[in-house]
């Protein structure tokens, strides 16, 4: 690495990939991301609690109205306010994203921990199963579960949860293998095997780190998959408001009432950017801690 040699010659660090973002920059990304998600969450909670706007209110008179002050995203074919539906949908999507991230995180961590700690045939079996799951294209795997449970959210919940397992399991196992060489060797010598529980408590903060870093990505991916499935008619069923379903509903009217399919998407993109920024910011933050 000769440029690095020349720089070392004068005592400067070499180039880093992300340019060593200054402390100010990193904070902004994380806070911006969290702010966006917070606004979305607050909006959906607010709308449900106060009952402002009704996502299911049909009104054939007001069908296919262009965006206006009273209906920022216009109305759909059944006269429902698209913006209100989009905000309501946020609740469902975030809920699915949360559940299908937290549950596989916990289960995956257990699997990875066991697999990494015990090694041997346990490790081999668990990892083979995880590899098999990863061999399938994501949507195809979820669709398989939808086939089993029938169309609707049940299949999506189960499918997303199971399909999200392998990554968390792998991340935890990898971290465990590293940890095993460090803490456990020392601890097992001095304390003896009886204190396995204490060891787990020490290991956990380390094990959870890569999983936390990955969580926003997982949520984002799962939410987008739910939207895609609902768009295809396989996920959330009408009249449940869900981002993908709303967009699908407008496809027949794309040329004339373009707002139904296009505007909610902008909302989704903004929330998505929120997740993306949070993920990146979290990664920088947690990586910076250990240096």
């Amino acid at each position: 690495m000769s440029t690095a040699v020349a720089l070392q010659d004068v005592g400067l660090p070499g180039a880093t990939v992300d340019g060593g973002q200054s402390r100010r920059g990193l904070g902004v990304a994380l806070w911006a991301g969290i702010a966006i998600i917070a606004v979305a969450v607050l909006a959906t909670v607010f709308v449900r609690i106060t009952g402002v706007g009704n996502p299911d209110q049909l009104s054939l008179v007001k069908a296919l109205e262009a965006p206006s002050l009273s209906h920022p995203f216009g109305t759909d074919a059944l006269g429902r306010d698209v913006f209100v539906r989009t905000v309501y949908a946020t609740g469902l999507d975030l809920q699915v994203g949360l559940v299908t991230t937290i549950v596989p995180l916990v289960i995956g961590m257990v699997l990875g921990l066991v697999s990494g700690f015990f090694g041997g045939w346990v490790d081999a079996v668990v990892m083979r199963v995880m590899d098999a799951l990863l061999a399938f294209p994501f949507i195809v795997l979820i669709i398989a579960f939808v086939t089993i449970f029938g169309v609707g959210l049940t299949g999506v919940y189960v499918g997303l949860t199971i399909a999200s397992l392998p990554v968390f399991a792998r991340l935890t196992r990898g971290e465990m293998l590293v940890l095993r060489e460090q803490q456990f060797m020392m601890a097992s010598r001095t304390l003896g095997y009886s204190n396995r529980r204490i060891i787990f408590k020490h290991a956990l903060p380390h094990l959870i780190r890569p999983n936390l870093i990955y969580s926003p990505s997982n949520m984002l991916g799962n939410v987008l998959t739910l939207a895609a499935l609902s768009y295809l008619g396989l996920g959330a069923q009408p009249p449940t408001p869900e981002w993908g379903a709303i967009i699908a509903g407008g496809q027949d009217y794309l040329l004339t009432s373009w707002w139904i399919s296009t505007l909610p998407g902008i909302f989704v993109v903004i929330v998505g950017i929120g997740f993306s920024l949070t993920g990146e910011g979290l990664a920088e933050l947690l990586r910076a801690r250990t240096g």
Partner: protein, 356 residues
């Protein structure tokens, strides 16, 4: 900071004792290289001055962080961002150049460079033949066929056995010595006037080092090219170089022929380096120079070696380094002979002890 007036009367060619009186192939005057960083301006090279005559080798020696690698790179405009040449001239075959960009146009033609680690200096995904041929095609405009034939010739010339067979080999299939020979082949392909070598033998084992240095000498004899060799290994300097420049904290603190430096080093740092060299027939163990080189971002005024110098005096922080580094020894307190310097040094320590 205002520039110190050049001592125009002291030309470079009469500077060096072995000069034949003819103009040097390479003459560096007042070279300054700076890096801008978060910690401020890093002065990697300050007022560097030396020259190399036709067919001779100049060695630049110093500890890590003294600026020798940066100086070498400056000569062909390869100083990486955020560094740049801020002042000085580099004269190659009589033509003066002032910026890195100008010097860059000489790369691969009049100036050539070889690097320390041949493992990382060769592109791992291209065959040896492809890489050598590429130089011939791009810089000399040969056709593929001619370039290939010439490449085989070149490889043979630098001592690679069965060169035709090796053309299809990849770098990772060759030994370190072989790789360095390939590097050298590519560097001399365009018959450069000056070969810049950044620690070319540091990554090799001792036997291979010998072979590579011998190869360089042979090539130098054949073409008359000058070589500027950067190294931290005094043994290599002694064996291989005609003239030496000793660098410390970005300054050239002493210049002279190899014989002079070995027999009577003047600057305290040079003397420290000589004393630190392990000798087989030495009467005592080598003396390590205590302390660390200074941080180039926070250089204090005066002589940078003062904190570590065994002959340090009160006046050292007031030394005008700009003026001193134009001469052959940057320490004004060192007398014409080494013994005098030693006596002076002892005297100043006695003064300190006496609390004066």
């Amino acid at each position: 900071m205002s520039e110190m007036p050049h001592m125009q009367t002291e030309t470079t060619s009469t500077d060096l004792p072995t000069a034949t009186g003819e103009a040097p192939i390479l003459a560096v005057e007042g070279l300054r290289v700076e890096f801008s960083s978060d910690q401020g301006v890093v002065r990697a090279a300050t007022n560097v001055r030396f020259s190399v005559p036709h067919g001779r080798t100049l060695g630049i020696v110093g500890e890590s962080g003294c600026g020798k690698s940066v100086t070498l790179r400056a000569l062909c405009g390869l100083v990486p961002e955020p560094g740049r040449i801020v002042a000085g001239t580099v004269e190659v075959e009589g033509v003066r150049y002032h910026s890195g960009k100008e010097l860059a146009s000489l790369r691969g033609e009049k100036l050539s460079m070889i690097f320390q680690d041949p493992a990382s200096s060769l592109n791992p995904v291209h065959t040896i033949g492809a890489q050598v041929s590429e130089v011939l095609r791009v810089k000399l405009g040969h056709s593929r066929r001619v370039a290939r034939a010439e490449a085989i010739d070149l490889l043979g010339h630098v001592g690679i056995p069965e060169p035709a067979r090796r053309m299809a080999a990849y770098p990772h299939e060759l030994s370190g010595g072989m790789r360095q020979r390939v590097m050298i082949a590519m560097a001399i392909a365009c018959r450069p006037r000056v070969l810049l070598a950044d620690e070319p033998t540091t990554a090799l084992d001792v036997t291979t080092q010998e072979q590579i240095l011998k190869l360089l000498l042979r090539l130098q004899d054949e073409s008359g090219m000058a070589i500027v060799l950067v190294t931290h290994d005094l043994g290599v300097i002694e064996e291989f170089c005609d003239e030496v420049a000793v660098m410390y904290a970005g300054y050239v603190v002493e210049r002279g022929s190899i014989e002079e430096l070995v027999s009577s080093p003047k600057h305290p740092y040079t003397r420290g380096l000589m004393a630190a060299m392990p000798q087989i027939d030495a009467k005592s163990l080598p003396e390590v120079i205590v302390g660390q080189p200074p941080d180039l971002a926070t250089l204090l005024p005066g002589c940078p070696y003062a904190p570590r110098c065994p002959q340090v005096r009160e006046e050292c922080p007031q030394v005008d380094m700009e003026a001193m580094t134009v001469t052959r020894c940057a320490c004004p307190f060192v007398g014409p002979s080494g013994e005098e310097a030693a006596i002076l040094g002892v005297a100043s320590r006695e003064d300190e002890k006496a609390g004066l």
